[in-house]
């Protein structure tokens, strides 16, 4: 037998903090009085509203249509009346258009799709596209685009690594909904003509691995492989995950399909299952609400468009020492400017952090220790990218691999001088594109 765990090179090992919410079963977050559904949820063009102010909508009704191929449909997450379509602060801190629906509290549902029992690949792709399914790990890339690769694919990998601290929603999903997730993954795999599905999961998530293995044994699924991975950040980064699971390297500047793999999030697989088998579009998701600033850290089914304040109430309220709210994990998540912002399809976790849980670092001169280079999972040299970028020499930054950066934040995390290395790299990337270097 091969070694127990597989790994990629480098990375860091931040404190997991997962015990706060890991053993809390998934519950339902009560629907708020109003939902604020952002038209732009993830990469791609904002969706185009197809309802008017004053319309009565049922839960599951299409309210905004995809605008172009890289965009996704949006569905009403409550039943009620469309109150307004107006700009509100979004998760990135910008003002963008939201559809606001007043909840009538009845949850009258409509199922816009018929369940498919024996779908053809094209039908699956169409359904995934119609149901507005996007990559639910953070970027929100529309899944149907991924499912129409231009190259031959031979393995579908489910990203269940969940390497960011605090986040436990994928772990809970796998322990409680193993069957649905696995079936969903096989559906997505079938959509690209692949029969082999691999689950990449960090080795310390024992119950999730156990649940997957139990289901595999029960159904005698030969094509399902559960690959335990070393617990290390960023194990769930696409290229690192593909390498850890298959030993294939995504070529520089390439996509996973260049090495015959497609990676999808755990929750994406679950959503695909619901869309195909039950005809339910994507309007709610499971997310982790955690941090020491919240009274009851939980894993919750939350409707798209619920504001942070409402979610906090559902978790027993905030303790009065919350100092920072994060959408996403502490390594890559974005800190939020207000509690009046609504979650989107890509919000996998909402963290209420107290002052001792995060660091606002004051940077000091680089001591040239090279720790950033050793931690970089892409094997770049962040210290040189940083110094070239700060000196305004962006071609120098490019030479040391700025464009390859996956922005995982390992370099900044490990830096003893607390330098803002990721931000320098992001700046360099932007400038290289602008200047056409």
């Amino acid at each position: 037998m091969k070694s127990f765990t597989r790994f990629f090179v480098a990375g860091v090992h931040p404190h997991g903090m997962k015990s706060l919410s890991a053993e809390t079963p998934i519950e339902r977050c009560p629907a708020p009085k109003r939902v604020y559904i952002a038209l732009s949820q993830g990469v791609g063009k904002p969706s185009h509203p197809v309802v008017e102010v004053g319309d009565t909508v049922k839960m599951g009704r299409l309210i905004a249509k995809a605008d172009g191929p890289v965009s996704a449909n949006l569905f009403a997450s409550v039943s009620g009346k469309v109150a307004e379509i107006a700009p509100y602060t979004d998760t990135a801190g910008n003002q963008s258009r939201h559809i606001v629906i007043d909840n009538d509290g009845l949850d009258t549902a409509e199922k816009p799709f018929t369940p498919l029992l024996n779908p053809q690949p094209e039908e699956i792709v169409k359904r995934v596209s119609d149901a507005g399914i996007v990559g639910m790990g953070g970027a929100g890339f529309p899944t149907h685009v991924k499912l129409t690769p231009k190259k031959r694919i031979d393995v579908y990998i489910v990203n269940a690594a969940e390497c960011e601290p605090y986040i436990t929603c994928d772990y809970r999903l796998l322990t409680e909904y193993a069957e649905q997730v696995v079936e969903g993954a096989f559906l997505l795999a079938a959509a690209v003509g692949v029969t082999k599905v691999c689950f990449g999961i960090e080795a310390d998530k024992l119950r999730a691995i156990e649940a997957l293995k139990r289901y595999k044994a029960e159904k005698n699924l030969h094509n399902l492989t559960v690959v335990p991975l070393k617990t290390r950040y960023p194990q769930g980064a696409e290229k690192q995950l593909i390498y850890a699971v298959t030993r294939r390297r995504v070529p520089s500047g390439g996509l996973p399909m260049d090495c015959g793999a497609i990676v999808g999030n755990t929750h994406t697989a679950l959503s695909a299952y619901y869309a195909v088998r039950e005809g339910k579009p994507l309007y709610e998701r499971v997310m982790t609400v955690s941090g020491k600033g919240i009274r009851k850290p939980s894993n919750l089914w939350v409707r798209n468009g619920t504001r942070y304040g409402d979610i906090a109430e559902a978790c027993g309220g905030e303790l009065n020492n919350t100092a920072k709210i994060l959408n996403g994990g502490p390594m890559m998540g974005a800190s939020q400017i207000s509690r009046d912002i609504a979650v989107t399809k890509t919000t996998g976790s909402l963290l209420f952090l107290t002052k001792d849980e995060f660091v606002v670092a004051t940077s000091s001169p680089c001591i040239n220790c090279g720790k950033c280079g050793r931690a970089c999972p892409m094997r770049l040299m962040p210290m040189y990218i940083d110094s070239f970028a700060l000196a305004g020499d962006y071609s120098g930054s490019k030479k040391y691999g700025a464009l390859e950066c996956i922005e995982c934040g390992c370099c900044s995390y490990i830096c003893p001088a607390n330098r803002y290395l990721v931000q320098s790299v992001k700046l360099a990337k932007k400038k290289i594109k602008e200047l056409g270097l």
Binding site: K239, R249, P251, G309, P330, I337, G409, I414, P416, A417
Partner: protein, 358 residues
């Protein structure tokens, strides 16, 4: 509730090591070697350490002050609080410098009188004037000339403490090379610098355990006990301050090249490894962040270079102790290594653009 939220960029958590904590760990790691130096050479070592650290810290602080004055800026309390001396790197430099100096015995004790030293509190043979002079000059050279003049921490071209040692050894050769005496070493080990100073000054030794523990003579007080240095080195590796591969590579490459240069004499090689500054150099000097390569491959080239130069200087050069020179020479080569040894990004080099954009 008011939205009194902190908004800052990711990552929101940071590893616990800071520049300052790293330097503090290095100081802790130097403690055993320092203790060994005190035990083997007497309490005057404490005085020279305090002096070196004070001179280093003061000259770094004054450098900041002068820079503010030169820029016609007021040197405020805030400047003093944020001065670079608080990252403790000048303290590390000071302590390393002190450990790289000999014990200062009065010139007239050079002959037999040094044998009269009886215990660590025996101070009557200590040459205080020479100690103060060399510590002050060494500290100023290390901090002002090598470190601050090139831009402060991280920008120095070579290890400050080692460069100062070389500076002192070349400019004040008679001052530096004079008598030194290990209190606990048997009297037949005479006062010459080390066994490396010539076969006649210290007998060719094969009692490796004694040499390893520090019952031997040494040109610099910090070099005396390989055991104490190794203890500190293990601490640094366990605390993940340094990568264990670099010091090991330096020691192995030095052993290999000494073995080759000595004409395949295993015992002589072992004696060479345990004498002189090889352990101090490999563990505390070669691993200096600013002046060692940033990649693993680069650091192996660097380590090989140090080993080769040590052997070359010891066997073919006119200078008995080669470690300082070898390390400083490879320090200077480091930018070149870093320039050419660049890791290939994960997934291979970016292919050239196939499409031409118009």
């Amino acid at each position: 509730m008011a939205d009194n939220l902190v908004v800052s960029v990711s990552p929101h958590i940071r590893a616990k090591h800071t520049t300052r904590s790293i330097m503090a760990h290095v100081l802790i790691a130097l403690a055993p070697a320092f203790a060994a130096a005190v035990v083997f050479f007497g309490v005057s070592v404490i005085a020279q350490a305090v002096l070196c650290v004070a001179v280093c810290a003061a000259s770094e602080f004054l450098f900041g002050l002068c820079r503010a004055l030169a820029a016609k800026r007021k040197f405020t309390k805030h400047d003093a609080k944020t001065s670079s001396i608080w990252d403790l790197s000048c303290v590390v430099t000071g302590l390393l410098l002190a450990l790289n100096l000999p014990v200062f015995l009065k010139p007239e004790t050079a002959g037999g009188a040094a044998h009269n030293l009886t215990g660590i509190f025996d101070l009557q043979y200590i040459d205080w004037g020479r100690m103060v002079f060399l510590c002050v000059v060494g500290g100023v050279v290390a901090i002002v000339l090598v470190k601050m003049a090139f831009g402060g921490i991280g920008k120095n071209f070579a290890n400050p403490a080692l460069t100062a040692r070389i500076f002192l050894a070349l400019c004040f050769a008679s001052f530096m090379g004079a008598a030194t005496r290990n209190i606990l070493a048997p009297a037949d080990i005479t006062t010459g610098a080390t066994f490396l100073g010539g076969a006649e000054s210290e007998a060719f030794r094969t009692d490796y355990l004694n040499m390893f523990l520090g019952v031997k003579n040494a040109a610099a007080v910090g070099e005396v006990s390989a055991a104490a240095l190794l203890l500190g080195g293990i601490y640094l590796c366990v605390m993940r301050i340094i990568d264990w591969k670099l010091p090991l590579a330096v020691l192995l490459s030095a052993a290999l090249f000494i073995f080759l240069f000595s004409g395949f004499k295993l015992e002589l090689t072992l004696t060479h490894i345990l004498s002189g500054g090889l352990f101090l150099g490999a563990i505390f000097m070669a691993t200096d962040y600013s002046t060692s390569p940033n990649t693993f491959a680069g650091s192996m080239i660097y380590a090989a270079g140090i080993g080769f130069l040590v052997a070359l200087i010891r066997f073919k050069g006119g200078y008995p102790e080669g470690v300082s020179f070898a390390i400083v020479m490879m320090n200077v080569v480091t930018p070149l290594i870093d320039k050419y040894v660049v890791p290939i990004p994960f997934g291979g080099r970016a292919r050239k653009k196939l499409k031409t954009e118009n």
